[in-house]
């Protein structure tokens, strides 16, 4: 449910002439199936992994924004949250840190002793926990299957900031939807004790989650799902100790319990988070993480729009080791790639990312309901100069134009383009003539709500200029950043879109997981009108044909069948043109020279902080 990664996607730039060492064509990074990772140095070997691991030291991470849910695994939905959770929250299954992209995208057992036993009808998943997993409580006590059940149930707590986290479980686990809807609708001003009762009741009453003993947990699905393992691997399914029931919502300073290699020991809101070694974690119980550094220190209070530059300077100088929420700033990238590629720089694929894109409010009554007319939307598909948008985000080596819903590397990707323009730079003449044919020879006036930070004002101005060439006037309103809220995109009822406050807007999307079974992680979230309200289907698009294809894909029994169905959904959506895709992007990351073994995990678009060691 990662709508917008908490990463300031600064406009990064790369000279088209410098190529990464070993990469035959840098464009191939966009489609992982078509490049050989062993040829790209920062993908083939754990970055800077020479020598043996060194124990000790403090990992310094630096950034400019705090977590949005106080580090609560059931509350966080931004990538910075996922990064940190890797250190203190384990799931039944998880992703290994591997430079082999295929391995990195395939779940392995984490808290579970082995992959689940699945019944022949694909509806029952049985997990058995490893022995030796402990909470760092006083005294330490074992992690139980009830902890995992509790974790999943907590997702529906009404005091959590509304997010889409429960959606995946509601869609798959039998009986969970009823529980979750009831819990979410209850009053947040009731006491934590009342909410604890609700959760405890759920632990016995939800038929799809059963804990026959403290080492076993059995999930029963409402229908088969080829991606259930991925859903269980999401951090929203992390175990939650019984202590979390005392405070809802969890505030900074309450999330101190850990079953991972590190635990949060200091949380200075808006300023700093410090994690130290968890003494009760043992390497023998964990095949994924390590505990090399002594301490992880995240400084969050760099403010100002030049934060990305300052972080970069500190990384280069060695006073910090990793960036937190910022990316390598545009002006710096060129100098890092040429004349020779700086070994501290890595450019990583996040296959399936589509950020940003433009969505139409198909229910808007403005312009006589023009946006409800598919021919109008199809005309506008020709308007955008996607190469210019690429440049705003850093140029051709980091971004590639996208012309469909599913991006390269995501499940169901089969390239096609219903609205080709020369060089993807837009075709104003065609747009104009199609608009005229649709009945709008004098063009339209569209209202655009654009986010007031990062690259969004620049994107808005580019959209405005491109549409203008097509005879469409765009009037922009800057809205609060962070999330589309009350005076922005979000509406309080499905009918709210009919008020027509806005006609177009430019959100972004990062899939919640990657790999050959991640179809559910993109298309339905942004385009499936049947999902529970509010979702991320900002424009109110709903096509029962697409809904049906999505439902079939989600309950397909084989991966091949699912992929095919996702592709069909993709084609159907693009025919309806409810949105205009812009681009898919790579992530440039930098680290200090004393940091060793930096491995990129696609899920958090970041390095795995439990793999690194420090040595000068």
């Amino acid at each position: 449910m990662v709508a917008i990664a908490a990463v300031v996607v600064a406009a990064c730039g790369t000279s088209a002439s410098s190529t990464p060492p070993g990469a035959a064509q840098s464009n191939n990074l966009f489609n992982p199936s078509s490049f050989n990772t062993s040829n790209i140095s920062w993908l083939s070997a754990n970055q800077n992994a020479s020598g043996s691991p060194v124990m000790g030291g403090t990992l310094q991470i630096e950034g400019s924004t705090d977590l949005s849910a106080a580090a609560d695994p059931q509350g966080e939905y931004e990538t910075i949250g996922f990064t940190l959770e890797r250190a203190y929250a384990r799931q039944l299954l998880s992703y290994p840190a591997s430079t082999d992209l295929t391995k990195a995208e395939s779940v392995v057992p984490d808290a579970a002793a082995s992959m689940p036993t699945v019944s022949s009808d694909g509806l029952t998943y049985t997990f058995t926990l490893r022995t030796g997993l402990m909470w760092n409580t006083r005294p330490p006590r074992p992690v139980t299957s009830q902890d995992f059940a509790r974790g999943i149930l907590r997702n529906c707590d009404p005091t959590l900031s509304p997010n889409g986290n429960p959606g995946y479980y509601m869609a798959t686990i039998a009986g969970f939807k009823a529980f979750c809807t009831a819990f979410e609708a209850s009053s947040p001003s009731e006491s934590p004790a009342a909410r604890a009762r609700f959760i405890n009741h759920g632990m016995n009453s939800v038929s799809g989650i059963k804990t026959p003993d403290s080492n076993t947990i059995v999930f029963t699905l409402a229908q088969p799902a080829t991606d259930f393992n991925n859903i269980i691997a999401l951090p929203f399914a992390s175990a939650a100790p019984v202590e979390y029931l005392k405070y809802t919502p969890l505030a900074p300073g309450n999330v101190l319990y850990s079953d991972g290699p590190y635990a949060i020991t200091t949380y200075n809101v808006g300023h700093e988070i410090i994690l130290t070694r968890n003494a009760v974690w043992s390497q023998s119980t964990d095949q994924i993480r390590h505990q090399y550094v002594n301490e992880i220190d995240v400084k969050l209070d760099l403010a100002g729009s030049a934060a990305a530059t300052e972080v970069q300077q500190d990384l280069a100088a060695g006073t910090a080791d990793l960036e937190w929420n910022t990316n390598v700033p545009p002006a710096a990238i060129h100098g890092l790639e040429s004349p020779t590629w700086n070994p501290q720089l890595g450019v990583f694929p996040a296959p399936g990312t589509t950020n940003p894109y433009l969505v139409f409010n198909v229910q808007s009554p403005n312009n006589g309901g023009a946006l409800g007319n598919v021919k109008v939307r199809q005309a506008l598909e020709y308007a955008i100069d996607k190469v210019a948008i690429n440049k705003i985000y850093g140029g051709a080596t980091l971004n590639e134009p996208l012309n469909q819903v599913i991006a390269p590397g995501a499940e169901g990707y089969v390239p096609f383009n219903d609205y080709p323009t020369p060089n993807n730079q837009g075709d104003a003449a065609k747009c104009k003539s199609l608009l005229k044919a649709a009945g709008y020879p004098n063009g339209l006036t569209l209202k655009d709500y654009y986010r007031n930070s990062g690259n969004h004002p620049a994107v808005f101005q580019e959209v405005q200029a491109d549409f203008a060439k097509c005879g469409v006037t765009v009037v922009g309103t800057p809205i609060a950043t962070g999330y589309y809220g009350s005076s922005g995109i979000g509406v309080t009822s499905p009918d709210g879109l009919k008020a027509g406050h806005w006609d177009i807007t430019e959100p972004g999307w990062v899939p919640d997981w990657f790999g050959p079974t991640n179809g559910r992680a993109t298309l339905p979230d942004i385009l499936d009108g049947a999902l529970s309200f509010p979702g991320s289907d900002w424009g109110g698009y709903d096509n029962t044909a697409v809904d049906s294809l999505v439902a079939q894909a989600e309950s397909a029994t084989t991966i091949g069948a699912a992929a095919n169905l996702w592709h069909q959904a993709d084609e159907q959506v693009m025919k309806d043109a409810p949105f205009i895709p812009f681009e898919t992007s790579l992530t440039p990351l930098f680290h200090s020279s004393r940091l060793h073994n930096a491995i990129f995990i696609p899920f958090s678009e970041y390095y795995d902080i439990t793999q690194v060691w420090l040595s000068s």
């Binding site: 406009a11 405005q464 309103t477």
Partner: protein
């Protein structure tokens, strides 16, 4: 900028002021103009202001000559391969480009329009409102005056940006709102001075005389007292214009004033912050024009004030003597 410290040493100019040091009688206006003519700094500032006005008026011409519009994005040809702005002198961009490839010279010219428009209009509104309120408060006195005076004090001392934030958070940023916010904040500066003057003037004999002649309050306020205030009000208004320009630039810089794509010197600097210091032309040129404009208005305001103040006659007499010999 703290408007509350804009001070004017206003002379008490009653209607018949003998021309100091002069042989023939001249009206105050002619006196002022004569003095200003000898003030080189004043002349220089007037010239600068006229040039900026010309720049603003001629903005479409500049756009036509260079072939670049102020708001059309130009990312493909106006930025380098990394999407970074081009430095001055590249490919027909005299002052370089911004982060979306637009011509900075053209945007500065259009930005001049905004600055001048907001500066003059907001000041005009503030002046009218301030004069009216100041007159009423000072003339009627009593609790009415106390409340208004206190209100003006608070308005003057309230952090104006905070105030603008409140209004923008409620109504959203726009040009008319910016003008209104600045005018609202500035009226108190004028109102305070006018009130002080009105307070002292109403004790004067000519006011008493007008009363006894049967003149109504309104007539006394606007026909008898007001002409005496023209001098300080003009000085204050001239000095308020640069304050208003600075105010608008600050609001636009914070994203609370003029919003893109309309260029304003303030929001250009805000865009520049996002790009970074290595694109120095994106910073320096808007800064330069902003400073030049405000400096010119401030110098002019000071010069007008000196010209209106009979106590400075020594200086002007000296200058005239220099010219004669």
């Amino acid at each position: 900028m703290s408007l509350s410290t804009v001070e004017v040493a206003y002379p008490e100019v009653s209607p018949e002021e003998p021309a100091a040091g002069g042989i023939q009688g001249r009206t105050p206006l002619r006196l002022v103009i004569a003095r200003l003519r000898t003030d080189r700094v004043a002349i220089a500032s007037i010239v600068v202001i006229l040039l900026i006005v010309l720049l603003a008026i001629g903005a479409p011409l500049i756009a036509a000559i260079t072939g670049h519009g102020p708001t059309e994005t130009n990312v493909d040809t106006g930025t380098d391969a990394n999407g970074q702005p081009l430095p001055p002198g590249s490919a027909g961009y005299l002052l370089g480009t911004d982060n979306l490839g637009r011509d900075i010279l053209v945007r500065i010219a259009y930005g001049a329009r905004i600055s001048l428009l907001v500066g003059v209009l907001a000041t005009a509104i503030a002046t009218v409102v301030g004069v009216v309120i100041g007159l009423f408060a000072g003339y009627y006195g009593g609790w009415f005056d106390s409340v208004l005076a206190r209100l003006m004090d608070v308005v003057l001392s309230f952090p104006y940006v905070m105030f603008a934030i409140v209004l923008v958070s409620v109504f959203g940023p726009s040009l008319p709102l910016t003008i209104l916010v600045i005018a609202f904040f500035s009226f108190a500066a004028i109102g305070r001075i006018v009130r002080g003057q009105a307070l002292s003037q109403r004790e004067k004999e000519y006011v008493e005389a007008a009363h006894s002649l049967g003149a109504g309050n309104l007539r006394i306020m606007f026909v008898d007292i007001l002409p005496n205030l023209v001098a300080p009000v003009i000085v204050l208004a001239t000095l308020l214009i640069p304050a208003a320009i600075i105010f608008e630039a600050t609001l636009s810089f914070l994203g609370l004033g003029v919003v893109p794509p309309t260029p304003s010197w303030g929001n250009m600097l805000s865009d520049a912050e996002g790009v970074g210091f290595q694109a120095w032309w994106f910073y320096i040129f808007p800064m330069l024009f902003l400073l030049l404009t405000t400096l010119a208005f401030n110098l002019l305001g000071d010069a007008v004030r000196d010209a209106l103040d009979p106590r400075t006659e020594r200086i002007f007499a000296g200058r005239r003597k220099k010219k004669r010999t």
